[in-house]
Amino acid sequence: MFKLENIRYKDILNIDYLELGSEKITAISGPSGGGKTTLLRLLINFISPDAGEIYYKDNPLEDYSPEDIRKNIKMLGQQPIMFGETIQEEFQIALDFANISDYQVSNYKELLSIVRLDKDLSDDSSELSGGEKQRLALARLLLLKPEILLLDEPTASLDKDNQKHILDFLAEYAKTNGSKIIMVTHSPELTKEIAQDQIIIADGKVQEGAVIND
């Protein structure tokens, strides 16, 4: 799906060659500050590389219009950010951002139950805990059914039980929806069972011999 050639971005990333996103789930791990989040931001074209080329479906990413890129590729940042006052509004605002008008309220409830958020749609989203916000932000993203999901540590604020539940669900989601998931995780141990492709990035470079394709 993505191919990176001779990518340089400030002093943060320095990747000679990398292919990723062809498997259902790709996990990117490595130490903090190593360039993982910057890589996701390059893939969604929030930043452009100082040098090199990123290819998306064999065409340079910069040849696609920003609208096309953001229609197909969506991302969940490390910090879950709420936009509305209630949980229902969070879903509605996300649909509005993505220009999707075809939806049902029952979808919201189903997604809440998938991410194990036992809340009413009328509950105040700003009063949720960090972990609850993270799960709501993930549910909100899943509602949009993007072709590619870029997830930046989507389970960072969750306990082990919820982490496993969400990761298992993501594996199932990728299988049934045909979406590709590229996720950053602080520990490769977490994702080794669900990711078909594991990449380790440290000091802005892909660690040689660490790219594992099953």
Partner: protein, 267 residues
């Protein structure tokens, strides 16, 4: 100490005008007694006000005597220039070159369009450059737009700088730059028009507006003064709306490049 009404206006002889400075003396006595240490500023402000108004009085007398489109336009340009400069100095946050450009364009476009619309279609002024009407009306429109746009640009810039993560989180979900900044832009717009809306609410009950008071004092019928006041309020509202709308629409764009990337986040 009373004066007869000459031509509908009570004259203020120079000696009586000097008596009005009694209130400045009261203020100086109070600040001295309270040890507020602002006497110099008060004296400077009163002196500046006096000198500036005397100079403007002579200037207006000269301009009104000899109406000329070039001079009227030159004065409009000077007023716009001072207003833009005043906006930049009023705003507490630092503005980028692009934002200064947008502020200037919005201010000029919004006020000039409204001014000519108002003078030609509402007042029906002929010739259009007749300075006795053109200059005071331009002053009211530009002054109020300056206040509105200052509030608008300050909110817009501060909120975008404070919330880059929130704006980018919206972009992550597929929002356009306009959608991602809609809340901030709407609030900036609302902040800008609020003083004008509030002054319309209080007008006639809480206070009598300056222009209307001036006209009544100069012998104009209150009914005509009210018509002028209503018309100018509509003009001010139109100008504040237009200048601020342009500001938020164009201002938001200065934070994104042609790849719809939020540039402040990447600096």
């Amino acid at each position: 100490m009373t004066n007869g009404i000459e031509g509908g206006v009570v004259d203020i002889p120079l000696i009586q005008l000097i008596i009005a400075y009694f209130f400045v003396i009261i203020l100086i006595i109070i600040v001295r007694k309270q040890k507020i240490d602002k006497e110099k500023q008060i004296i400077l402000a009163a002196t500046r006000m006096t000198l500036q108004l005397v100079i403007v009085g002579f200037l207006l007398e000269y301009i009104f005597e000899m109406p000329h489109p070039g001079i009227t336009l030159l004065i409009l340009l000077i007023m716009e220039g001072f207003a833009v400069q005043n906006i930049f100095s009023r705003v507490s946050t630092e503005l980028s070159f692009k934002m200064k450009k947008v502020t200037t364009i919005s201010m000029f476009t919004g006020t000039v369009f409204t001014l000519f619309f108002f003078l030609i279609l509402v007042i029906g002024l002929s010739p259009w450059y007749y300075p006795r009407y053109f200059i005071p009306i331009a002053g009211m429109i530009i002054g109020n737009s300056m206040t509105g746009i200052s509030l608008g640009v300050e909110h817009l810039v501060n909120q975008i700088k404070k919330n880059p993560d929130k704006i980018e989180a919206a972009l992550m979900l597929g929002a356009s730059p306009q959608q991602a900044t809609r809340k901030v832009a709407n609030q900036a717009f609302y902040n800008a028009i609020l003083p004008t809306v509030n002054s319309m609410i209080g007008m006639g009950i809480i206070f009598l507006p300056g222009m209307m008071t001036g006209q009544i004092l100069s012998g104009v019928s209150p009914f005509l003064a009210i018509r002028y006041q209503i018309a100018i309020m509509m003009g001010i509202l139109g100008s504040v709306t237009l200048t601020t709308y342009l500001l938020v629409k164009l201002g938001v764009k200065t934070y994104f490049n042609d790849r719809m990337q939020l540039t402040i986040k990447n600096d």
